[in-house]
């Protein structure tokens, strides 16, 4: 389904406004290439004291703790925690299943808007962002950037993308884990209609690579509530074939299956230490993003 929204429509002012206030903080340590506001795994000589260690040959004598030397006559070096910036890797599911939408907004459009807002917020706090849209493979790749002026380019490329293929989320995540050397935040935006084992494997690989992973599970209200009546012929968007049935006859069973899938996905995320965010496209972007960022702010502040 061709997206009918222009690139600027992806930035939701309300969502951005809330996001600016809350910010997107790194929940775990991240590896940046310049000083920022996020904790770095590297400890060095900065503002915030971290620990002492014994002086070794070659250490800069400027970091000697003279007070300790005066009291104990021992040579200790003062170490400080280093803050850094992070790279947010935005992985948007561009498969055909994402083109479903009961209203004007499809899941893909919602994911693109969410990705655009997140990219804007990340760039706003001078962190870096990369964007990848994938289906069976990565279709669109925006290289790492921390330049706010690139946001328009990102949105234009998002808008230009059209979904046609099936999903292989696991391989896309594994590919990212392989390419992203530095630990960052990987944000997955997908309906997760994919091989569940591959998805969990991808999560594990990203986590093993030290990335923090946030999964936005995006579903349409029709998929959540299955409100159809009468006789309906369902035509598969990714999977071939048709199915004629009376939705009322299978609604309960379908919802059980759907909820079980959601539970399994949440479980996989929790087992991998990832955030699982369930997104109903019926809810506004601001509500979804604001709610999650507030939750994250609260968690990171502890």
């Amino acid at each position: 389904m061709a997206e009918k929204f222009n690139s600027k429509a992806y930035l939701d002012p309300v969502a951005i406004s809330r996001g600016e206030t809350l910010g997107l903080l790194a929940r775990t340590v991240v590896e940046g290439y310049r000083v920022g506001e996020h904790r770095s795994p590297f400890k060095g000589f900065a503002i915030e004291f971290a620990q002492h260690r014994e002086y070794a040959v070659g250490d800069d004598s400027r970091h000697l703790d003279w007070k300790v030397l005066g009291r104990t006559d021992r040579y200790y070096i003062k170490q400080y925690e280093q803050d850094t910036n992070f790279v947010a890797h935005l992985l948007v599911d561009g498969s055909e299943s994402m083109t479903y939408g009961s209203g004007e907004v499809t899941k893909l459009h919602y994911a693109k808007a969410l990705a655009a807002c997140l990219a804007y917020l990340v760039l706003l706090q001078r962190d870096a962002v990369t964007l990848g849209i994938f289906d069976t493979q990565t279709r669109l790749q925006v290289p790492r950037t921390d330049n706010m002026r690139k946001i328009h380019g990102i949105m234009e490329r998002l808008a230009a993308f059209e979904a046609t293929q099936q999903t292989k989320l696991g391989s896309a995540m594994a590919d990212l884990a392989h390419k992203a050397k530095a630990k960052g935040i990987v944000i997955v935006l997908s309906d997760l209609y994919d091989d569940e084992e591959g998805f969990e494997s991808g999560l594990q690989r990203l986590r093993f690579g030290g990335h923090e992973v946030i999964v936005f599970h995006i579903l349409d209200p029709d998929e959540i509530e299955f409100p159809f009546k009468g006789r309906v012929e369902f035509v598969g968007l990714e999977e071939a074939g048709k199915l004629e049935t009376s939705p009322a006859d299978i609604r309960k069973s379908y919802l059980e299956e759907m909820n079980a899938m959601r539970r399994r996905m949440r479980g996989a995320c929790e087992r991998a230490g990832c955030h699982y965010v369930f997104v109903n496209t019926a809810h506004s972007l601001a509500e979804t993003l604001g709610g999650y960022l507030a939750f994250r702010h609260h968690v990171c502040a502890r």
Partner: protein, 710 residues
């Protein structure tokens, strides 16, 4: 009706027809749908099949309910669906069906039984309804499934005054059923089995044998046995001509069809339904015998009247009274035209006629109702004929043209002409004259003597068929067989006329002695011999005076014609041209209020009032417009044989009933099916309705339950 079972296909058809309304959705999460469908397929199919079966069963039940299924009762046990049948119900509506058992008449019993038969006929059956007596009246002429209509017609039916003859009705029913196809064909005959009903037993047996394979006949006999009955079986006027203020003698015959003699039976005679004018007592009537009593009435006013003879009531009220209608005259004027003149009064051609017409001493002649003038034939050319009610021609010779024309016009205007030929009569002239040949009912052949071996030729001595001579069928009234002629004109009856000639009396050898016919409004009697003793003894026979009186009365009935009818005979009355198109009303037997009958039909020459609903016995009064007095009165007289309620012996009917799958019913057992009856039994639609309701509830509950999200 069971064709409705095809409607079972409705749920399937609805399912198929609703398929085009399928909605298509492009869907992402098909994998969950597949799983759900696979998981629920068997259950959904089972639910669908269960609902389809329930709906089909519901439709089938509804069809079955409308078809009104019933159990079949009988030795073979209850069976459903013995197939529809086409029936003809033949109901005896003769007079005897009015016989009551004290609470219910035979006709009412039959009605109840027919109601039972209709309710027990297999659903989808059709039935016609014929009323039969000595005529067949198809009140529901074609088999109908609309039983309420049939029951409505049955409610309107009532016993009539008709006699009974079963065969014509049975034949008509068989002919009707032969035109029908499919299903069983049955005839239900409900009769009181009077002996007269089976008068054509051989034909009935033959009819039954010929149609045994195709048509089942059920004979249902009402009334256990012929019951006792007393009846007025005859009422006749002996005095012949009814005249104002003159006593009129009437003979009333009462028959006793009981098993015991009747004693001191009062008999009353009434005029126009008023209080009895005369009453007599019959001291004793033996079982099976009849007795006649003579009573007198007087009429204060001229015109049409009815006299009614009555006896005390019994269980068949219809024959406890018998009525007779007659025209009461104020005065009768007769003209006797002689062919020849003789100085000796006793030798004159009109002597005996004038004596017979005024049979009273000369000093009482002025008070006598009939005035007779005697004239010569040459006086007929005057315009004075219209003042006479009767004109007698006695031994008249050739008439001149004017006289013949006057006579013709006189008769056409309603006059009565009685012709006695004689030696002076020229048969050739009478047969060829344009005016006279039109008047005479027969050709006059040349006069001749009886065959050589017989010196005289006598009149017939019994079996008189004409109303004028029917009186002499009763031996107590004497006989006409004593009238003898030595010479006569053989009469050859005219044929082809609209109103054919009737023989009043024959000679013993079968040749007509007296004939008559109607000419427009008038009537002409033609004798074959003289009114004098020259060729015969008629003028001096004891029957001469009553014969002339009866001819006078019959001829003077005027435009009304026949006033006393058999049941079902139509009545016609010439009301006069001035009344054409006027409304008339009728008050039938026992009716105190008049009811509108119709309009008088006029065709330019006459205005005829016709009445055809003469099934009930008794007097009928016809009124024109708002007149308070009836314009004409006529009477319907029931068949006297109907009063004999004796039934055909069961032994005589046994072969017929055995061969006809008969259900013999008695009055006591009316309404209950006979042991060997195959009549359909109790209907079972009520439990089916309950079952259908239960099924509908189950279907609704299941459909609601199945439609919940699963």
């Amino acid at each position: 009706m069971l064709f409705g079972l095809l409607a079972i296909g409705l749920p399937v058809a609805i399912h198929l027809l609703s398929r085009p309304q399928l909605r298509q959705v492009r869907w992402a999460a098909t994998r969950f749908l597949m799983k759900s469908v696979q998981k629920n397929r068997r259950r959904i199919q089972a639910e669908d099949i269960l609902l389809l079966l329930l709906r089909c069963l519901l439709v089938a039940l509804l069809v079955l309910i409308f078809a009104r299924p019933a159990f079949w009762s009988g030795e073979s046990g209850p069976l459903i669906g013995r197939g529809i049948s086409t029936a003809v119900i033949l109901l005896d509506d003769s007079e005897s069906m009015g016989q009551s058992d004290g609470t219910q008449t035979r006709f009412d019993q039959a009605r109840t039984m027919i109601d039972g038969i209709l309710s027990k006929l297999a659903p989808g059956s059709a039935s016609a309804l014929f009323l039969f007596s000595d005529r067949v009246k198809p009140v529901v002429p074609k088999p109908t499934r609309d039983f309420p209509v049939l029951r409505g017609a049955l409610d309107q039916a009532a016993p009539t005054a008709h006699g009974t003859d079963l065969y014509p009705g049975l034949k008509q029913a068989v002919d009707l059923l032969k035109t029908t196809t499919g299903g069983r064909r049955e005839i239900f005959v409900l009769t009181d089995s009077q002996m007269t009903a089976w008068r054509e037993m051989a034909k009935i047996r033959q009819l039954q044998d010929e149609n045994r394979k195709d048509i089942t006949m059920h004979f249902i006999v009402l009334g256990e046995k012929g019951e006792d009955n007393l009846a007025v079986t005859d009422l006749q006027v002996i005095g012949a001509v009814a005249v104002v203020n003159m006593p009129l003698r009437c003979a009333i015959r009462v028959s006793n069809w009981s098993k015991s003699p009747v004693q001191n039976l009062p008999v009353k005679l009434m005029v126009d339904g008023e209080a009895p004018q005369d009453q007599g007592i019959i001291d004793r009537i033996e079982p099976g015998a009849s007795k006649t009593v003579n009573l007198y009435v007087r009429f204060p006013e001229p015109g049409y009247h009815s006299i009614t003879a009555g006896i005390p009531g019994d269980r068949l009220p219809a024959d406890n009274q018998r009525s007779l209608a007659l025209l009461v005259l104020k005065q009768v004027r007769a003209l006797i035209v002689e062919g020849s003149a003789s100085p000796d009064p006793a030798s004159r051609d009109g002597f005996f006629l004038s004596q017979a017409l005024v049979p009273v001493p000369p000093d009482q002649a002025d008070q006598y109702f009939l005035k007779a003038d005697v004239e010569q034939a040459d006086r007929l050319d005057g315009p004075s004929l219209n003042q006479y009610d009767l004109v007698f021609l006695s031994n008249a010779g050739r008439l001149d043209r004017t006289a013949a024309q006057n006579l013709q016009q006189y008769v056409r205007d309603g006059g009565a002409l009685i012709v006695f030929p004689g030696p002076a009569t020229d048969p050739h002239f009478y047969n060829t004259d344009l005016n006279l040949s039109d008047l005479l009912p027969a050709r006059l052949e040349p006069a001749r003597n009886p065959p050589a071996q017989n010196k005289f030729l006598a009149w017939q001595s019994r079996n008189y068929e004409h109303p004028v001579t029917a009186l002499w069928n009763d031996p107590e009234s004497g006989t006409l067989g004593t009238v003898r002629v030595s010479k006569y004109f053989p009469l050859t009856l005219k044929t082809g006329d609209a109103l054919p000639a009737q023989v009043v009396v024959n000679y013993a050898n079968g040749e007509p002695a007296v004939v008559e016919h109607k000419v427009r409004k008038g009537r002409v009697f033609l004798f074959s011999s003289t009114a004098t003793t020259e060729w015969g003894n008629l003028p001096i026979d004891t029957a001469f005076v009553p014969l002339l009186m009866r001819i006078t009365a019959y001829a003077l009935n005027g435009p009304a014609g026949k006033l006393n009818l058999a049941p079902g005979q139509p009545f016609a009355f010439d009301a006069g041209l001035g009344y054409g198109g006027k409304e008339w009303s009728v008050a039938g037997p026992g009716e105190k209020k008049r009811r509108i009958g119709g309009s008088i039909e006029a065709d330019g020459q006459s205005a005829i009032l016709r009445y055809t609903e003469t099934d009930q016995g008794g007097p009928y009064q016809l009124f024109i417009g708002n007149e308070t007095q009836p314009r004409v009165v006529f009477a319907v007289q029931p068949d006297p044989e109907e009063s004999n309620l004796a039934q055909e012996p069961a032994s005589d009917l046994a072969p017929l009933l055995a061969a006809s799958d008969a259900a013999t019913q008695t009055a006591a057992g009316a309404g209950k099916p006979a042991a060997n009856s195959r009549a359909p039994g109790r209907e079972i639609w009520y439990p089916l309705v309950l079952l259908a309701l239960l099924l509908a509830l189950i279907e609704t509950a299941l459909a609601h339950r199945f439609s919940q999200s699963k």
